[in-house]
Assembly symmetry: C5
Homo-oligomer: 341 residues x 5
């Protein structure tokens, strides 16, 4: 298909795409649902900062109309609906375009699912596009409504930063959640070492690899944002962006730590499998080895030689029992002492 064709590649997550708007400044907040994409124009300029959030990306015709209102580049819209993008930052001159990944765990498989969030930062507006609103931005909405923190005094760039910060902070929650799961897996593996353990370790590894793949470009993105010479980012935002940068680095560190932990789990698994096998083999072989000489003794006195004086001894049978018990017990003791039984 021709480049720039807008085709939604994800699953349809919401029945009806909705567009909502918040306009705020130090002293007032307006909030509402936007009926048609063209109504966005009316919201712009109502207050210092206008945040328009689009939930649901399958109605490409409607998105195209939103894109027309904000005169977006055709490829930008293509990127918004192509939900397999890597995180990236594009400076479009009069706006900055950010593609981000929001993580959540699948309720059933517990696998990490990445949902794409696109942010367009303009001079007096912030546009966000989500497949589904996971509620991650609700605290920010509440801060705006309540005028808590600095957000009402700051501009569009601070709002974009707050959204970014919310996403990165959510990564920590994910990572900690994973960490608990891996510790449980480690315990399970120590108890019962079957092939399913290996598969789960590798499933976790694969998730870590895919997380890392999302996080490296995110780190670059934040770093590029901090160093950006765009007029859309004010100088005062620098320490905040540096802070987000530090957080992404910490997330990456945690992922590396988990990878090491998984490698360790694999090693422990392997050792524990082979140790258990060794234990079994040693015990079984020891038992076999004890009985082999005894059976030999029994075999001796099962021979049919005419002259076998022991057979005629009065306590011959008892003596043989004594010898056999003696040999068996002393071998058992010997094996036990050397930890083979």
């Amino acid at each position: 298909m021709a480049p720039g064709t807008v085709v939604f590649l994800g699953d349809k997550r919401v029945e009806q795409p909705t567009v909502s708007a918040i306009s705020y400044g130090p002293s007032n907040v307006y909030e509402g649902v936007v009926a048609t994409p063209e109504d966005c124009r009316g919201w712009l300029g109502r207050a210092a900062v206008t945040w328009i959030n689009v939930e649901g990306l399958h109605d490409t015709e409607m998105l195209q109309r939103v894109a027309d209102v904000f005169s977006m580049h055709p490829l930008t819209l293509e990127d918004i609906v192509n939900t397999s993008q890597r995180p990236k930052l594009e400076d479009m001159g009069d706006s900055l375009f950010l593609v981000l990944k929001m993580l959540r765990r699948h309720p059933e498989t517990r696998a990490i699912v990445a949902e794409q969030v696109s942010i367009v930062l303009g001079k007096d507006y912030v546009l966000t596009f989500q497949e589904i609103d996971g509620g991650l931005f609700n605290p920010i909405r509440n801060h705006i409504r309540a005028g808590k923190g600095r957000i009402r005094e700051m501009g569009c760039d601070y709002l974009a930063y707050s959204l970014l910060d919310a996403i990165v902070d959510n990564y920590f929650v994910m990572i900690e959640d994973m960490d608990d799961d891996i510790e449980q897996l480690q315990d399970a593996v120590l108890k019962r070492a079957d092939a399913s353990g290996v598969r789960r370790i590798h499933a976790f590894k694969a998730e870590m690899v895919s997380l890392r793949r999302n996080l490296w470009p995110l780190r670059e993105l934040v770093s590029a944002l901090e160093k950006s010479e765009s007029d859309l980012i004010s100088d005062g935002l620098s320490p905040y962006l540096r802070d987000v940068y530090e957080h992404t680095v910490q997330v990456i560190d945690s992922i590396e730590a988990i990878r090491d932990m998984l490698a360790g789990t694999m090693d422990i698994y392997m050792t524990s499998v082979s140790n258990r096998m060794n234990e079994v083999m040693k015990l079984l072989t020891a038992i076999a080895t004890i009985f082999i000489p005894l059976t030999f003794i029994a075999g001796i006195y099962g021979m049919n030689f005419e002259t076998m004086p022991e057979l005629k001894w009065r306590y011959g049978y008892a003596a043989v029992w004594a010898v056999m018990i003696g040999v068996g017990v002393s071998m058992a003791i010997y094996f036990r002492r050397r930890k083979w039984m």
Copy 2:
């Protein structure tokens, strides 16, 4: 042989090399077969963009004549026919020369086959050289004919970009195809772990390595094209090239993911081989261990001592059976409980 000697190094893929041409501009499209290389001259300038496609690289004499028409550097032609080139971009001043690899799967062995495509981008023409036309460029031809998308309004650079984009998009198809094959292999390996599995894993690994080797220079090529200061690339192409760049990075990411998956498959294979072996050994040893004490008991009462009171007991034989069944069953239960049987 002397440098600059034009010798075709591939297999002859088509009977007769063919040269075809499309000239197009916003309002008109001319299309036809070029009889002799020198006829290319007539096509140039007929419309804004002229795309000449050469299929079949074994007729070096004819290629030399094409090269003369477009006054190409001797080494350029050498690179076109030497089909073991790595992807590369050369700025020849009045033209850009791109060597690319087009992937397809061998219909029988299912191995990935790379075919070389060379693109020469001039001021008003695009030359493409293929060993065989795999049909990959047909959608672009159709877009030109139908005037769909932007292609008719854009220049030669956009055509070159479209060709590049078609090739990179085809990589995604290849990768997904491979992905399915590897998942099948993983299942096969879990069911039946023989040496052929290891060889197939390594065959896939080798393919991934060779793909990666083609893709790293491709990534550099696209990046160099984007940063190129050549007049042949207009500024408006930048976002499109950035888009292709993102795609190559995504392909590389997928390949890395597949490599990790293959490493995981190898681990699972190893664990499953050793687990199965352990299961066998444990079961067999358990059976042996059960019978060894029983045989010992039988051996006892096979002894020929004159005084063995048990032999004369009325129910001695039955008692021995009872003891042996008791010992055997309890050992079997014990082994089963400890999962050794």
Copy 3:
């Protein structure tokens, strides 16, 4: 929560946060406890250098008041109380802000615990924030009091350097301590190879990884400090900072050496486990193999054929014993010679 919110993330380590101050110059030293944060103002300027140390980070309201006295950036205070920071250096214009990690071993688990120390270096003051005072800075206090070394003649930057140097030197102590523990582990692993050994090796590995993760940013921090063009760092401090830099590099080298040592320990562990298993199996199998032919011989003469001439020989029984002893002993000798027993 909104960015810039000051929330203490560590454990409360001291009952009551305390603020102490030392003011010193070449000729005089003043020392005392600061009752309220605002009293800090009185200490500034009393002598060339004023060092204010805050112990205990859970009273965020008090810290906010300290921050106000020194007009610190809101994010700086956030970083001070968020004790999961990576080491970093921030140039705030009129002050330098350093986050460092002080290592100590947990008295019971012997695990390495990292405690955060933040240093704010101003024009005529050095502020330090600690969760708990581990006594690491006492020698510096004594040098100041006694006027030993250069410290009394030098400025605030030299004090900050001395604090940094004390922290890095303490790393050497930690590393040597670890080194001893790992050597003990290596000996233990050679003696008794159970799964707990693997777990301890991996615990050490994890600690090394986390240490390395703290040290790489520390190295960057020191390097950035040396190259810093801030007026707060005088030129004469350069050789001292280079010295600290060399020390951090040496610590990193030692950690790499320990990692190699741990990898070696793992290899030795694996070899020793498998060697011991092999020894056991070889001995047991050898014993079994000796008795199997003997039991066979006994079985032969347990057969009930009517014509078995040996059974009637006078010394048949003795001869069989002789044969069996001969076979058994020669096999034992053979096995012993080939080191299987």
Copy 4:
């Protein structure tokens, strides 16, 4: 020994060092043997390009005289005779000095042997120093004599490039040769897995490592040559050098591919060793396990109880045989079905 002392470090390869010269320009070629080093002076300037080739490096006194004629730096001569140099390029101002490695396979051990070739590129001469003339430069001599290709029209730099190209092209031959050997090794390893296979794999690995060590500096050398601002390299040579550069990169790629192939061979070797062992153990254990219950049954009826009704049955013996055959066969079938036999 003092730096700059000229001591030949290789083996004496030719009886008598020989110096030969070719002077050529577009229209004429002079060729001959140079009797004494000082005669070189007579050859210079006879035509546009003079190529003097020295074969045999053990006569350091003669080499010193050659060096004096061309006023070479003492360290240059030291490098020429020290045949353990890494490939390198030195710009000596009025000449460029290249140290290269020419590969050939030892006729008996089939090991790769690297022989040092030094090239001194002056304004109107090219000096080459070889331990032994392997005939690699003969095609170039023939091109010069026959006036084939561009060489007669081009300057000294093109001659140096041709020599470099001949050496790099020869690497491809070597690599392909190795490739065949490794494929043979792979087949051999699959058939018979003994320790000699591992040693051969590691011998190949070591060769690949040493090749790579020669090739990385070669790649740098060619790259430096291309970027060189020396007047001795004309601008028109750039595409040719880029071509050689591409070739060295391809050789490096092939070596990496071979390394991966060797790693795969090792894996296949390991799997095949362990699989074969497993097969043996499974079969042997299965046989043992079949006979153990049978022997137990035989043991039962070898007991001497007075009351064993079965012993008196008419078809007791036949029944026991039937039972034993039944048990044995059904176990064999079971084992065969589960692929243990």
Copy 5:
């Protein structure tokens, strides 16, 4: 302890520290022992170059006096006596300060011991500090005395280069020595594979790692020296320093090669251990498997059934022997053919 405190950290190697001096120029050489540190002043200026060598670093008071004569920075002296320094180069403005490591093998343990050599290069003097004089610089002293080579014509920088060159050349001797030891180890490991082999391999690995750790900074040092813009290094020294640089790179290459060799030795060791184990197990199991069916046959005819026609056959016993020998021999042949015995 306060920074800049001069404390010797090594072992006291010589009874009495000695200071010796050589002053030389093109035409004359003065040589002698320096009685008190302050006498050094008298030696300076006597000829073009004055080399003062201090052997023994435990007398810090004396070293302080030497430092005062040459007005060295306090940290420089600290570095000289702290013998755990990494190789480094410091430009002190009027002097260059080099810390180097001189390698020798411990006479008993054969472990590589690194001894620290510090060189201070001034305008007309070279200061060297050694723990113990290993005789490495004697050839240089002899060259000076005899006026052999260029040394008498050259300045202080050439002397410093000669010292550096002597140290690097000595590394080659060490490496070759190690190489021989490792080849011996490889042979030993192939003959007798016990845990001590693994420990020795790891000991060598650890040495290689520690060597590499000394060599990387050395390489940087030499490179920095070559690129140094200090007036103390004349332009003519450049080719000599490049030469030393090449040598350090070669040493690093050799170390990498040895590391690969050690990895190969480990692989061969592992394979040889497991092969030997497999051989043992196969042989033992084969023996057991041959006798098990034979014992079964013997057991058959040990049964006490009343009707066992074979028992009454005349040649029954002989026939059983024939069968058993037949079975045993044919199994042995079968096992031998399949290489299990």
